[in-house]
């Protein structure tokens, strides 16, 4: 409002006209569409997010050239709509409350939080430290144990490489699982090039590790166990408390990648004996480009930093802390701790509605992952006799993925599902549905109806499905070799 008045006072003629004209437009619009009206003062400045992205000639938003095999064209007659977002494990929308907390630090309060000589620095430092407390309290930690990073990938790299390199020589063995995120697996691969031994635990059909396997894998020179809290593809929750207890009794550091878990399930680093824990901002309705690492102080965990320089963040992560992002992460954590019970109850209800809705109308649908030890907001379904990528392409109105965003460009079946022992055809036919704080019942019902329609259609075209309908057991068929 004040913005509009400002322009009026300055007498910018074209703007004046548009401001004057807009109430009428708004009034007309309000008659036709009673539901939502852009206020007159706003319409003068309104800009579509897409419009800002577009160039002179209107371009169709398609995947970049590196994304293999995808040709995206819009559905007929639906040229001006956006698909429903159901990929919450890839990223989540920024909560408006988070943006509200961040905006002052992107505009007026731009001080460097490490500046000690003036109030610009002090006010930003105060906000960054308050955010640190919010993050710490969400996981039952002390704020001195929180280090800001650029995201969970950096947190995972820092904890795995940092611990291993610090204790190198004395201890040389790391344990992780086959279903970890790529950044954990890749950090371990780098370390095995540096001479470390890495054990990749296999998981059961339900996606959970066996405690006996873990016990058996532990050696006197094991320095670190890194096991993720909630899996990003199938949503299973590993037995953190048991793992933590075992590791503590053997004096081994326990790192967990909790990017998908923090703010969604209760986590207490002391109760669970977690020594290092990775947090991501944008998975919990916070901003992208920020994360945190919890590093235990007692008993102390020592790390070799990845970045050297100004010695910020207790020397573990040099570089100016991104104050607006840190504030956003803190606010996201504050909201998460306040809303966890409410969100969880709702996500659970929507998740049950989705699974029941699909399974009641389509046969041969299997849920991947454990039935009980699973975060309900991550639903991974395999549709037998349907090719997952074809289904994804058919479901143009819904933003979905068959697995993690990092590997969504490749047509390989997910390594996580293969680690569960899934047959290749079932791994190929899987789709992940992500449900979050802002998902609505209406969206779930829409998704159910589209999925049911397209699975039926794709199966009708499938010769395999026809054979199944005729009662032929496909797994018993001996296929002729190609000449």
């Amino acid at each position: 409002m004040s913005f509009a008045r400002l322009t009026l006072a300055r007498g910018a003629a074209p703007m004046l006209r548009s401001v004057r004209a807009s109430p009428q437009i708004a009034r007309i619009a309000s008659m036709a569409v009673p539901r939502f009206v852009v206020s007159p003062s706003v319409s003068a400045f309104h800009t579509g997010a897409k419009r800002m992205q577009a160039t002179e000639t209107q371009v169709l938003i398609t995947p970049s050239a590196e994304s293999l095999g995808f040709e995206v064209s819009r559905a007929e007659g639906e040229s001006n709509t956006r698909p429903i977002y159901m990929d919450m494990q890839a990223t989540s929308p920024t909560d408006p409350r988070v943006l509200d907390a961040m905006l002052p630090y992107m505009t007026e309060l731009y001080g460097n939080p490490h500046s000690r000589t003036h109030s610009y620095g002090w006010e930003t430092e105060k906000a960054v430290d308050k955010a640190r407390e919010e993050i710490a309290s969400l996981i039952g930690a002390d704020s001195k144990e929180i280090v800001y990073t650029s995201g969970a990938t950096e947190s995972n790299n820092l904890s795995i490489k940092g611990v291993a390199r610090f204790y190198k020589g004395k201890k040389n063995h790391i344990i992780t699982t086959q279903t970890e995120h790529k950044c954990v697996l890749d950090s371990c691969r780098v370390l095995s090039d540096e001479g470390f031994d890495v054990t990749y635990l296999s998981v059961g059909k339900n996606g959970l590790i066996s405690m006996d396997d873990l016990k058996a894998a532990i050696r006197p020179d094991t320095v670190l166990v890194s096991i993720m809290a909630v899996n990003n593809e199938i949503g299973v929750i590993q037995p953190l408390e048991e793992i933590g207890k075992l590791c503590r009794s053997k004096k081994i550091f326990f790192h967990t990648d909790a990017a998908q878990a923090v703010g969604k399930i209760p986590i207490d680093v002391n109760k669970m004996n977690i020594d290092l824990l990775s947090i991501s901002g944008h998975k919990i309705y916070g901003p992208k480009g920020v994360g945190a690492l919890y590093v235990r102080r007692r008993p102390r965990v020592r790390l070799v930093p990845l970045l050297t320089g100004g010695g910020q963040e207790r020397g573990l992560r040099s570089g100016t802390v991104a104050a607006p992002l840190a504030v956003g992460l803190g606010e996201a954590c504050r909201i998460a701790s306040e809303e966890m019970a409410y969100d969880h109850e709702r996500v659970k209800r929507l998740s049950e509605r989705l699974v029941a809705g699909i399974q009641s109308k389509v046969s041969h649908v299997f849920r991947n992952g454990d039935e009980v030890q699973t975060y309900p907001g991550c639903v991974n379904l395999s549709f037998a006799y349907v090719e997952g990528e074809s289904l994804l392409m058919a479901l143009k109105d819904i933003a979905l993925s068959s697995g993690s965003a990092c590997t969504s460009a490749s047509l390989e079946p997910s390594y996580v599902l293969r680690a569960l022992g899934a047959e290749d055809d079932m791994a190929h036919s899987s789709i992940r549905f992500g449900i979050g704080r802002f998902t609505t019942e209406e969206e779930i019902d829409f998704v159910i109806s589209r999925v049911v329609a397209h699975v039926d259609k794709l199966r009708e075209m499938s010769p395999l499905w026809e054979m199944v309908q005729e009662g032929i057991d496909i797994s018993k068929i001996e296929w002729a070799q190609h000449a």
């Binding site: 709509t81 956006r82 409350r97 704080r437």
Partner: protein, 101 residues
């Protein structure tokens, strides 16, 4: 007597806050935020309906006032950068938000 007076004062204050929150929540241009803001407001006020401790009521009023400021600012921002509507907001799926409060 005095508690009856304060509770009557609270009542009108709470109702007016509730109405303003719903009103401004319905101004979010983004479907998901709009739906959430309205739903969260309803659920929060509903859950606190039988609260009788004046101190707690005062604290909740204070919190709701702060939330209202956030909703006012953020619904405006949502309007400034609004994009295309979601597929289910097209005519056949349209849902009337204003008629519900």
């Amino acid at each position: 007597m005095s508690s009856a007076v304060t509770s009557a004062a609270h009542r009108s204050q709470v109702l007016s806050l509730y109405r303003s929150l719903l009103h401004h929540s319905s101004k979010f241009a983004a479907y998901n935020f709009r739906d959430y803001a309205i739903r969260r407001t309803r659920d929060a006020f509903h859950a606190a309906k039988s609260e009788s401790d004046p101190e707690k009521i005062q604290a909740m009023i204070h919190k709701a006032q702060k939330e209202l400021e956030v909703v006012k600012r953020q619904s405006l921002i949502s309007q400034l950068y609004s994009g295309e509507k979601l597929v289910l907001e097209t005519s056949k799926h349209q849902r009337n938000f204003i008629g519900r409060h």
